[in-house]
Amino acid sequence: MNKHIIFTAASWEPRFFSGFERILTRFTPERVVMYFFSEYANLSQANRERIRSCCKTNSITLEEFEVSFADPIGTWKVLYATAAAWCNGDSSAVIDITTMPRETTWILFGLFGDRAIPVTWAYHKPQGYNNTWLSRDPDRPRLVPKMGGVTKLGFPIKLLLTSGFDVERARQLILFFEPEHVLVGIQTGIQFGNKLLNAARHLQEFQGSSATKLFEIDAYAPDCGYESLEREIKEHLADSNLIMASLGPKTSAVALYRIHNKYPQTSLAYAPSKEFNPDYSFGIAETLYGQL
């Protein structure tokens, strides 16, 4: 039987610790690897202490590693070292993507995929999000190390986005990469005011533009929206350099990773923020699990 190792990224959100406890009801890990980001070390301190205490009570080895949004290269090296150190032939990784930045999630997925380590991902939906703001102070968008794809010289950029609550983030990526064409996957459903706060805003922003195609995606479906995404990108693979970014439901990052894994010429891009709302979300609702 495989040994389970849980990989998680510390957060101040209530669902971080509640979700961790929930994962322990399903898996009996040998070890927990918890990353925490320097920029939010103070905010996540209380929850990290709770994880320490919980691991101690359950006799689980806990390893903590400090990483930084501002240093993606340093972060990659830490993730590489930890993934190499703790996962081998008889291990399987359980990655809690709930509060893990997409860039970190993708890097871990890639490292484990490269080593053929089985991965189960977990995502805990919150009961709700803060309705004022979620993130702000954007940093420069960047390609994820080792996942920047294989660029074809002389071909135009096309950008695939899964949309979220913030149209400005989509605009920022478009301004940065200046794509010839933009594909925007808009989440279906009414959860978290999605119709008004996501779908309607993106329709208003992009509908009517000949350079943009809007399509529906359900990132909460069992395939995380993979089929919809694959259907949309196929015709663009041969004649463009496709850059993909997830701004929508976290689970859409799972689907985008699978697309990148199947079509390694595509690039994964990450648009970091320097500030997150201390009251980002509240409560914990359903937990989704999946395997890569």
């Binding site: 090296k77 702000r136 080792k146 010289l153 002389g154 400005e168 350099n241």
Partner: protein, 582 residues
């Protein structure tokens, strides 16, 4: 709006096809003489100032299309090769995982491959460049010197493109391996890639005397190592075979350091060309350029007998009221200067006539009916994209209304003053809303606090400029400023805020002569689209307000009103010529 052509489309130039570039580009006002020189040139300017368009217009494929269209002979003495830097290849990050030297090698390799491919791709637009007899010799030499095997059954340049594509793909795959030390051993440098390629191409009789201009666009996207490498190439001063033309933004412009730790020097190693030229009125160089651009675009959609002024007419009431004010102020000037020269009278009218219009409007009146081509030129703040954007939305509005009313879509012959006013006010309001609500979500490095401070700063500038417009004795329409008393402790922080505003293009900077002869100083021009929402006149004048650094900082951080004096001494500035006319 997919099935009609909006002549004011302002999409990035790199998305335009050769024929569209020929259609839209105004050759009279360009920097072709610099691009076609053998000097190394840096073209600097913010987004929308025409850098890409200038480079693309001069690129060989567009020049070939132009020659073809005009039935002229294409001159191959200067071959301009367009190399975009905003590509996923440039944004790749794997180099940073390597130790510094290897990282520099890989960074140079990607840049070199991009240039080599661009050269091959550019030349492949010439159908009869190489004869069947010449091709085998050149191919053999390329294979021997560059160390690859060209695929058979493909034309020479197509084969070269294929092999470069393959090599670039292999190097990326090697770098993408999930190991920090992943490296590509066969990386090319400028001296093992671009130079031998150019040397081999020189064997082609039609290219034996050609000078290659390597035009790197969006160089601010290059990584730090690539910037140093590029500067090292620029420092190589034998420009007989090739030279560089480098386009970059002003804000975040790459430093001039070389790989060896030295620096390249303006005047010595390169010439710097500022694409943001100050402008004042529709008769200035920018005014003429704006007019030509709009005229050409109107002609392309079949509006053949109308001037831009006729297509964008001024509201008749607005015009009448302005004329009335001008007549009245002229009479006033004659009383002030009974023995005055025409220049004295003219200056007085210039400074006060428009201000009188704004002063005499009722406090309860709606916003002025902003309209007319001249207003659009001023609102653009000297940036072509800022000129086209409101025109685009005005045109779109007219077509939308045609459709909504069930009318057949016909060529738009005029944008009514009411639609002009509506769109100008709408775009102005949106700009303020963006500063207030969207800055910290869309401008890199802008925190919520920064966003609030920038908003308060511009809000207080608007209040100051309004006060001036209504009350200032000599320079009421100054809507630019300089900063004085810069030795206050928070001046660096203030410059940081202004940098954010520049990045967002709500502020532009220029340098000009100061009052002290011989000195140059920076002056700041807020984007004039901001002013209609505040009832200000976007039609500025040749003057700038001098504001103390501490007052700007207090306006930004404490929302404190900037002190105003109706008689303060402002800096009158001369009308700035452009690069060719100074």
């Amino acid at each position: 709006m997919n099935d009609f052509t909006n002549p004011f489309e302002y999409e990035a130039a790199n998305k335009l096809k050769s024929d569209q570039i020929l259609d839209f580009y105004i050759e009279d006002f360009n920097y072709s003489r610099f691009v076609h020189s053998k000097r190394n040139i840096f073209l600097i300017g913010e987004r929308g100032t025409g850098k890409t368009m200038t480079l693309l217009f001069n690129s060989l494929p567009v020049q070939a299309a132009k020659a073809d269209k005009e039935g002229a002979i294409l001159n191959l003495g200067i071959i301009c090769v367009y190399v975009p830097c905003n590509t996923p290849l440039t944004h790749k990050t794997e180099y940073a995982l390597l130790e510094q030297f290897q990282g520099a090698v890989i960074s140079e390799h990607f840049l070199v491959m991009s240039i080599m491919y661009a050269i091959a791709d550019t030349l492949s637009c010439l159908a009869n460049l190489i004869s069947e007899n010449e091709a085998p010799t050149v191919a053999h030499e390329l294979e021997f010197i560059l160390g690859f095997k060209l695929p058979e059954n493909a034309k020479l340049l197509d084969a070269l493109k294929l092999v470069l594509q393959k090599e670039t793909g292999e190097s990326q795959k090697a770098l993408n391996a999930k190991k920090p030390e992943a490296f590509y051993e066969s990386a090319r440098s400028f001296s093992t890639g671009v130079m031998p390629l150019l040397s081999c191409l020189g064997r082609i009789p039609k290219l034996k005397d050609s000078h290659f201009v390597i035009m790197l666009d969006d160089a601010h996207d290059l990584n730090e190592s690539q910037v140093k490498t590029l500067n090292s190439w620029i420092a190589y001063r034998d420009n007989s075979l090739f030279s560089f033309k480098v386009a970059t933004t002003k804000v975040g412009r790459p430093p001039f350091l070389t790989s060896s730790g030295g620096a390249i020097l303006e005047g010595h190693d390169f010439t710097l060309v500022d694409m943001e030229v100050p402008y004042q009125n529709k008769y200035s160089n920018f005014g003429k350029l704006a007019r030509s651009i709009v005229q050409k675009r109107l002609e392309k959609v079949g509006v053949l007998n109308k001037t831009p002024e006729e297509f964008f007419p001024t509201n008749p009431e607005f015009e009448k009221d302005l004329n009335f004010c001008e007549t009245r102020i002229r009479e006033e000037a004659k009383k002030h200067f009974p023995e005055g020269t025409p220049k004295q009278i003219g200056d007085y009218v210039y400074k006060n006539a428009r201000a009188a219009y704004f002063r005499e409007r009722s406090a309860k009146a709606n916003r002025p009916p902003y309209s007319g081509f001249d207003i659009l030129v001023h609102i653009s703040t000297g940036v072509i994209r800022n000129l086209l954007e409101p025109c685009y939305w005005m045109y779109d509005k007219v077509v939308s209304e045609q459709r909504a009313s069930g009318e057949a879509t016909v060529v738009v012959q005029e944008i009514s003053p009411s639609i002009q006013t509506e769109i100008i006010l709408e775009r102005s309001k949106k700009k303020w809303e963006w500063i207030k609500e969207g800055f910290d979500k869309s401008i890199e490095g802008c925190s919520r606090t920064d966003a609030e401070r920038v908003f308060q700063l511009f809000d207080n500038l608007a209040v100051l400029f309004r006060e001036r417009l209504l009350k200032h004795k000599s320079e009421p329409r100054a809507i630019a400023f300089t900063i004085s008393e810069t030795d206050q402790p928070k001046h660096a922080d203030l410059l940081g805020l202004l940098e954010i505003a520049r990045k967002a293009q709500i502020l532009y900077t220029y340098t000009s002569s100061a009052k002290d002869l011989g000195k140059r100083e920076t002056y700041y021009v807020p984007n004039r689209i901001l002013w209609p929402d505040r009832g200000l006149d976007p039609h500025g004048q040749h003057a700038r307000a001098s504001i103390k650094s501490k007052d700007l900082w207090a306006a930004a951080t404490q929302n404190r009103q900037i002190p105003f004096s109706a008689t303060d001494a402002d800096l009158s500035i001369a009308i700035e010529g452009d690069l060719f006319n100074e």
